[in-house]
């Protein structure tokens, strides 16, 4: 008898999940978003960050014109951080070109380059960089030694050759940090909206009123509607990981299983947020607005874009209730440092607490909605 009831319950759950999944694949726009959002996001975030720091257009003034000076220019280009776009005749011309925005950096090699190379404590060549663009300035400075002192305005001096080689390819670290965390941003962006809209839409169209009068229970209804989105979230995770590896060479140092586990917990937390929003919103439009409202703080405060440590105390506290904050911590730990999931119980725990609280609130509201 009990097993019969369970079987019936399973059949209903399965029917709802299958229906939801069928509608999902049938709605071309939503289906396009499932695949499109991760692809577009990773291309935009991945490339815009890489594109700026690679291939910075640079002008060259080479007064020395020796084998060594040409080798230096070649080495600088080999970092891919800069790309020599023009050769100029004087440092003044170089500054003028930077000033007009035609190039972002200038390499000046003085006539006494060979002699300077031999001398300790003197830089052999100079790189001028547009200081108005902080990320470019940072990258070009990275080409040189840490002791370089930026002067007011736009120029930076560095001591030369050897340091350039040691700080090779500094821009890669940024991309590697961005891509794994991007999984979290994309999941936040899609999971919350999809679930909130999927449920509100059924209410708007009157489907829910019909469903409530059937033997389907609230739990079956909620789980059945959310399950397909867990799958969607895992597919999106996979897309970002694959594209990240393929286009941006993002290595996965840690365990793949841990990564998917973390993603699963994070997806669950976001689905609950979506469910909660669906109980608050009256229309699909409201649901989308509320989802967007949660998205912006997630991106800004989670440490995805701006370093967490640099934030004021109040912002750090707010960030604690944002699931993305903890997922960024988890995913960077697993993907970049190879840390096992079990070594970060706090982040997992906080996601779990978020899940439980959102579920409790949603269940409370959902029941009231029937009335």
């Amino acid at each position: 008898m009990i097993s019969g009831a369970l079987l019936q319950s399973w059949r209903r759950l399965h029917a709802i999940a299958a229906k939801e999944f069928r509608q999902l694949t049938r709605d071309r726009l939503t289906f396009g978003m499932v695949v499109g959002i991760p692809l577009i996001q990773i291309l935009i975030f991945g490339y815009s960050i890489n594109f700026d720091v690679r291939n910075i257009s640079a002008g060259v003034v080479d007064y020395a014109n020796t084998t060594a000076s040409r080798a230096l220019i070649a080495d600088l280009q080999a970092t891919q951080a800069i790309r020599v776009t023009e050769y100029l005749r004087s440092p003044a011309e170089l500054e003028a070109r930077i000033g007009s925005g035609a190039i972002s950096a200038g390499i000046y090699i003085p006539p006494d380059f060979e002699r300077r190379r031999q001398e300790q404590g003197r830089s052999a060549a100079q790189i001028l960089v547009d200081g108005s663009e902080p990320s470019i300035e940072g990258v070009v400075r990275g080409l040189n030694s840490v002791e370089s002192t930026p002067r007011a305005g736009q120029s930076t001096r560095g001591p030369g050759l050897i340091e350039v080689r040691t700080l090779y390819n500094p821009e890669r670290r940024t991309a590697v940090q961005i891509v794994p965390a991007l999984i979290g941003v994309i999941l936040t962006m899609t999971m919350v909206v999809f679930t909130a809209v999927a449920i509100v839409r059924e209410r708007e169209r009157g489907n829910l009123e019909l469903l409530i009068t059937t033997p389907v229970s609230s739990a079956e209804l909620m789980i059945g509607k959310l399950l397909p989105y867990v799958l969607v979230g895992l597919i999106q995770t996979t897309i970002v990981l694959l594209v990240g590896k393929w286009l941006f060479d993002v290595p996965i140092v840690g365990s793949l299983l841990d990564l998917y586990l973390a993603a699963g917990i994070f997806i669950a937390a976001n689905l609950m947020l979506g469910l909660l929003i669906s109980t608050l919103a009256q229309t699909q439009f409201q649901a989308i607005q509320m989802s967007l409202f949660t998205l912006l703080p997630s991106i800004l405060l989670s440490g995805f874009m701006f370093p967490f440590d640099g934030m004021p105390r109040a912002a750090q506290l707010i960030a604690q209730v944002i699931p993305l904050t903890h997922f960024v911590e988890l995913v960077r730990g697993i993907v970049l440092r190879g840390a096992p999931l079990a070594s970060m119980p706090w982040a997992v725990g906080k996601l779990g607490i978020f899940f439980a609280v959102a579920l409790a609130l949603a269940a409370l509201r959902f029941r009231k909605r029937l009335d």
Binding site: E209, T213, T214, P215
Partner: protein
């Protein structure tokens, strides 16, 4: 247990904030009959139906559906119940077949029977050639037949239909009622709300609702025969003048116009209503043929819902109930 009434409600009340949508309704609905709720918009028809199927909790009162307490045995009741909402509420982006298969799963229709049952229903409701069509692309009448097919797929003992024909043409309405009688013939009890007089007249029993209360209840024939008013039909060219003259008679409960004819309802206490009307019209110099006639269901409706609002009558505010 099976012999008892399908629905018993006592003192059923529902308030939304300060508004009382349903006000102490008592219902006894026998099995295997079509029971109608007739009432204007906002009279509490939908709210009552929603309480009967457990969508809404009553503020006060008790409901017993198919011998079970809706509040405590909601799941058991729902398995034996079919509900058709006012609006088409199946999934427009699913095909006819997918919608029915889904409902069959949800109601736990035996897998072995499922395909056959769906086929039989589709045949019965003339939808077999629409099997793979998306529900959203069906016509109004087809959608409504699909909804009834879905609601009756699990062979429920009780069907609750909330204004099922409000969005379809007369031919579809007629077909729809044929289907209802077929289901009743199979032993199903049907509760249907409507604001069409002709539909209400086809019900076995009828409750007229107004402002959350049942103001008349019984078989349509009995209601018409035992109307608590005298009906006088006036045929005249000068309808406006006749109206004004009738408005002067204190015992006139309501006046409804049908083309060049006026139906005036007079209180029962008037000894000779025909004479009374004739005198009033003669006094106002209105030429008219006056005849004491038997009541239509609309007269019953007007008499039941129009009482106590005599002050509105000269404007004809209560005369537009025929839709």
């Amino acid at each position: 247990m099976n012999g008892g009434p399908a629905i018993i409600a006592r003192g059923l009340t529902r308030q939304f904030g300060r508004l009382t949508a349903v006000d102490h309704i008592d219902l006894t609905i026998p099995r295997a009959e079509i029971y109608g709720f007739l009432g204007p918009n906002g009279s509490g028809k939908s709210t009552t139906i929603r309480m009967l199927c457990g969508l809404l909790r009553p503020t006060a009162g008790s409901v017993e559906v198919l011998g079970m307490d809706v509040a405590h045995e909601a799941e058991k009741v729902r398995a034996k119940l079919g509900y058709m909402t006012q609006r088409f509420s199946l999934w427009e982006d699913l095909s006819v077949r997918e919608n029915l298969e889904f409902m069959a799963e949800v109601y736990g229709v035996d897998r072995a029977q499922r395909t056959q049952r769906i086929r039989a229903r589709l045949e019965e409701f003339h939808l077999l050639d629409r099997l793979e069509q998306r529900a959203g692309t069906l016509s109004g009448g087809q959608k409504q037949r699909l909804a009834l097919a879905a609601a009756s797929l699990h062979e429920p003992e009780l069907l609750l239909l909330d204004e099922p024909t409000s969005a379809v043409d007369p031919q579809s309405r007629r077909d729809f009622w044929e289907s209802l009688f077929r289901l009743v013939g199979q032993g199903t009890t049907i509760l249907v709300s409507t604001h069409y007089m002709d539909e209400a007249e086809r019900c076995h029993r009828l409750a007229i609702l107004d402002e959350g209360r049942i103001v008349a209840e019984g078989q349509p024939k009995t209601l018409m025969a035992e109307i608590d008013a005298a009906v006088v039909e006036i045929e005249t060219e000068a309808t406006e003048a006749a109206r004004a003259a009738l408005g002067q008679i204190p015992e006139v409960v309501s006046i409804a116009q049908l083309g060049t004819r006026l139906h005036a309802l007079l209180e029962r206490s008037v000894a000779d209503p025909e004479r009374r009307v004739k005198d009033a019209l003669a006094q106002a110099h209105v030429a008219a043929a006056v005849e004491h006639t038997s009541a239509s269901l609309e007269d019953v409706f007007v008499a039941a819902t129009g009482g106590g609002r005599r002050d509105q009558l000269p404007d004809g505010a209560r005369t537009d109930n025929r839709t």
